[in-house]
Subunit: 356 residues, 2 copies
């Protein structure tokens, strides 16, 4: 079974650039602090940096040409041919658009491969005129979906802030837009950012008929690969301290480990966050036995997918291996979790009430 | 958008019988404590109680006739015609089956309506010879799926223990079986129970090529209806104390509320658990302001679906209304969660790093 990468969009989407958001946003950033300076838009118009999709073999993936990351700089809303009506200046607000806004849909792709998508997600993508997303996810879409779209806008390494703003600008310019991501739009993903940016532009969610189409989160995809590790009360924690201070993350890890929550760890490792993983292992071991079962799913759904079930005491050392990186999701069992026949099982408690 | 009921299968599937598992399992219970007594199988053979599906208009939904809850009592594995090879005595173990075991797949339907199902789930159901599940979910399946199955086995109020045992007996008898539930098989659901019962019968997960097909959990379905309430670290807690002692639940609520987790509450209310909900509200209010946003999704995906966004201080009183029952899922925001344009938004933290 294929499952998804568990990578947090907020911190890393690529193995070669473990912290792309933090590092690349300033390079291409339509939404950087100086977005009100109109002269900046020129410096962002090189498509070679991180902006428009190029080299695509899809005929519908063309209108992003010449645009850099985020809102592109040419054209205006009055020039509303199919391909140019999306052109707005960087940092555009509602007042800059003349058109009747289109619809905006945040679509969770689930594990990423077409089989893991819901029928509703597929319908939403088929109905969208524009589909916006990280290149890796756009490339996972079936030809049926990409062929049906008027335009695909993908950024390889640009960060979700500029990409989300691009999606919203296109919506306010009158297009029906789907913004896609793996997993679920509510799990370390773009549903909230879309609403925040809509608000910052003076628009409303109602105005664009904003809809969130849920998807299967990485915790569920990876949990399924591991067996049944998550059937009781559970916690999801991201180790990325890009947007959340590490002391808060540590405090949450303590709280979750003290109680008998199972714990799904997102974004366990990056070159910049090696010590967060070590700290996490240390905290977990202060509350749980070293033989607590831990499931590790690396590169889920990719060619290099690996599923390993180990013990908590081994986790930190495995962090040194290639098994644990930004494409890895880790599921930590609770006191009752056991391993049977290469599966992790967290009993729900039936055995206390039933004989079987 | 449709979403699912958030009802925990372990505690209740029906509004008219809020605690069906606890109350009805002894009535129909193929897996009750006396399952080793062969004479017991006679007393369980009345199909009228809670067992076989009756009155179905599906031609493929026929072979459960005469069977009660759980493993049926007639026939044997040597009588292996298509419809009778599933007949095994109650409490059967691996040794009672002569056949080469079939495949067993635990399929998460997501929100329940066909649009919320993944393509993989649909494929798994189309490939299954037998589909086993709670009547409500079986009835949500499309005709394409139910027509393709050799047999459907559903129980209206019988409990997942006997139903899961039935699924496993049918698998060990040589059938490819899918056991279905709403949401995800790892979220208060049957993936773990299936493995536990397989083990108790002396079988293994490998032997039946056990697979979990993940689905969209109720937290995600309801989160999508509410906007973006769950984009940061989050906790799922069930208020059902049928299988977990209430002091443990209370302790987890304290721990989650003390930290800035958003909290999805499953199984908030039943006639027998009124006080759990009151206690939950009390605990949350000791750690969070009374104006903390709370989203309530009742009867998601049903005709009586209602979505209400309120404040934590109002929650206990709303518990008195019909809004909060076993079909309700509640999402409690954290300190940063706000309501904008009838949506709940929990910022991921982008606003601390980016201007938009």
């Amino acid at each position: 079974m294929n499952t998804d990468t568990a990578t947090d969009e907020t911190t890393g989407e690529s193995e070669s650039e473990p912290e792309p958001e933090a590092e690349s946003e300033p390079k291409c950033g339509a939404s950087s602090g100086d977005s009100n300076s109109s002269s900046d838009s020129d410096s962002r118009s090189e498509p070679s940096t991180c902006g428009a999709s190029t080299g695509s073999d899809s005929s519908s993936r063309s209108s992003a040409e010449g645009s850099a990351c985020g809102a592109s700089s040419s054209g205006s809303s009055s020039n509303d041919t199919e391909k140019s009506k999306t052109r707005e200046k960087v940092g555009a607000t509602l007042e800059d658009f003349d058109a009747e806004p289109g619809q905006l849909t945040a679509v969770g792709l689930g594990p990423g491969h077409p089989e893991g998508m819901t029928e509703r997600a597929k319908t939403a993508l088929l109905e969208a005129e524009h589909i916006v997303g990280y290149t890796t996810y756009i490339e996972l879409l079936s030809a049926e979906i990409t062929d049906a779209a008027d335009d695909l806008y993908d950024t390889p390494m640009c960060g979700e802030v500029s990409r989300t703003e691009e999606a919203i600008d296109r919506t306010l310019a009158g297009n029906d837009v789907a913004i896609v991501g793996s997993g679920d739009p509510n799990v370390y993903a773009l549903a909230g950012l879309a609403l925040e940016i809509l608000e910052s532009k003076g628009a409303t969610a109602s105005m664009v008929d904003f809809e969130v189409v849920p998807g299967v989160p990485a915790a569920q995809s990876c949990g399924a690969r591991l067996g049944a590790p998550l059937v009781n009360d559970t916690v999801s924690i991201s180790l990325s301290d890009h947007l959340v201070p590490m002391p808060e993350i540590e405090s949450r890890l303590h709280a979750a480990a003290k109680e008998s929550f199972t714990i799904t760890i997102y974004n366990p490792w990056s070159r910049k966050r090696r010590e967060n993983f070590e700290k996490c292992c240390e905290i977990l071991l202060t509350h749980r036995d070293s033989d607590t079962p831990v499931g590790i799913v690396h590169g889920a759904g990719r060619e290099d997918e690996r599923v390993v079930i180990t013990e908590l005491g081994e986790l930190e050392e495995l962090g040194e291996s290639e098994l644990v990186d930004m494409t890895t999701t880790i599921v930590v069992g609770n006191e009752d979790t056991y391993v049977w026949d290469d599966r992790m099982v967290t009993p729900r408690g039936y055995e206390t009430k039933y004989d079987y």
